[in-house]
Assembly symmetry: C2
Homo-oligomer: 219 residues x 2
């Protein structure tokens, strides 16, 4: 009987180690924050303020950045359930409505991603000097591409998302200043002057937000 005790302790330890291995996770469903984007193909550096609602599948993004040495500012409301994206200009009181044909992508480590490494950004020697994060890698299910994701161990907060595809190259998103919760729920409601905007533009529907943004800025 006594010989069983070390074996059971070993099993318990093994179970603890297995349980401690970081697993894919979902970020909190309501977030606001900022993100810097680097899209090498089009030399796009975007600094974005975003509000994210995974319950309602709604995203509001205010973009500002430099593309081919020209600065630009944009304000988008993406309503994935309605399949609509609004491009809003408060200054001109204009609003253009386009079809949105991208499925909603929740902020998460996909369930089939592979755990790569757990590291501390900074130092663990004193409180407030470091951040425990997990790195995951995976392949896109429907295209020839890879992703490298870094999320916090506590809270599943996104830190960086690096994606690579043969057609688009590397695309790096670095998140910061994230707050759990929505500061202003009205950000997800189109402003009054959008009611009078044309139903849906005849042009191409939006299938890739960043490709669309690049094309718009190159026109």
């Amino acid at each position: 009987m006594q010989s069983l005790i070390p074996a059971s302790v070993c099993l318990l330890l093994a179970a603890t180690v297995l349980a401690q291995k970081p697993h894919p996770c979902k970020s909190p469903p309501l977030l606001v924050g900022r993100v810097s984007l680097v899209y090498p193909k089009g030399q796009l550096f975007v600094f974005e303020r975003f509000s994210y609602d995974a319950f309602g599948q709604r995203v509001r993004v205010r973009l500002g950045g430099v593309d081919h040495n020209q600065t630009f500012h944009k304000d988008y409301l993406l309503l994935y359930r309605e399949g609509l994206v609004y491009e809003i200009s408060y200054r001109n009181h204009t609003c253009s409505k386009m079809a949105l044909e991208i499925p909603f992508q929740p902020m998460e480590i996909p369930h089939d991603a592979t755990f790569q490494a757990q590291v501390i950004i900074g130092s663990s020697s004193a409180p407030g000097e470091g951040l425990l994060v997990n790195n995951f890698i995976g392949d896109f299910p429907h295209s020839e591409g890879k992703y490298f994701l870094t999320f916090t161990e506590f809270g599943c907060i996104p830190i960086t998302s690096l994606t690579y595809s043969a057609t688009a190259g590397y695309f790096l998103a670095s998140y910061f200043d994230i707050v759990i919760g929505i500061e202003d729920p009205e950000e997800f409601i189109p402003p009054d002057f959008c009611d009078t905007s044309k139903p849906v533009e005849d042009g191409e529907p939006v299938t890739d937000l960043f490709e669309a943004l690049l094309q718009k800025n190159n026109q």
Copy 2:
């Protein structure tokens, strides 16, 4: 007299705000940690385990990485005061000694760097989900180049160092798993079999560690 009170409160607040603006800082003098390096010109990705002693101006680095699709491993001991660098191979019991003509560069935000932004990597909504960091930019004093440094607000721990020069391009170092203190002080003492190595090689002295490393791997 009473009218002076609001003025003095304002002055006090102004002084507090000024005092709170992040200032250049020096990292702790004894550190061990890891760093990933990206050197686009030579497609070098190095994952380094380093020990850093600013008191003795000594650095030990164990490099491993991929250069032009070939993996490599190196072990260097840099003694800046003696002006020597040892390349050590425990497997072959060999040691090559070279002159080191680079001045010691402490881990710090240079005093003339310009504060750019304070951000939270991750989230401040719950403990352990975010890290408060400061971004600084500056110009190299003796060459046409720029640096972008991110260090923690608490502890002045390096997070990223991005340098740019017209000749070398972008060079990115990302630090992680940093511990304050030296785990093994013997790492800064050359192993016994180095005593029998030739005094100093006739070849070029090391003036840029990464350039030297690249050349060695391309030979």
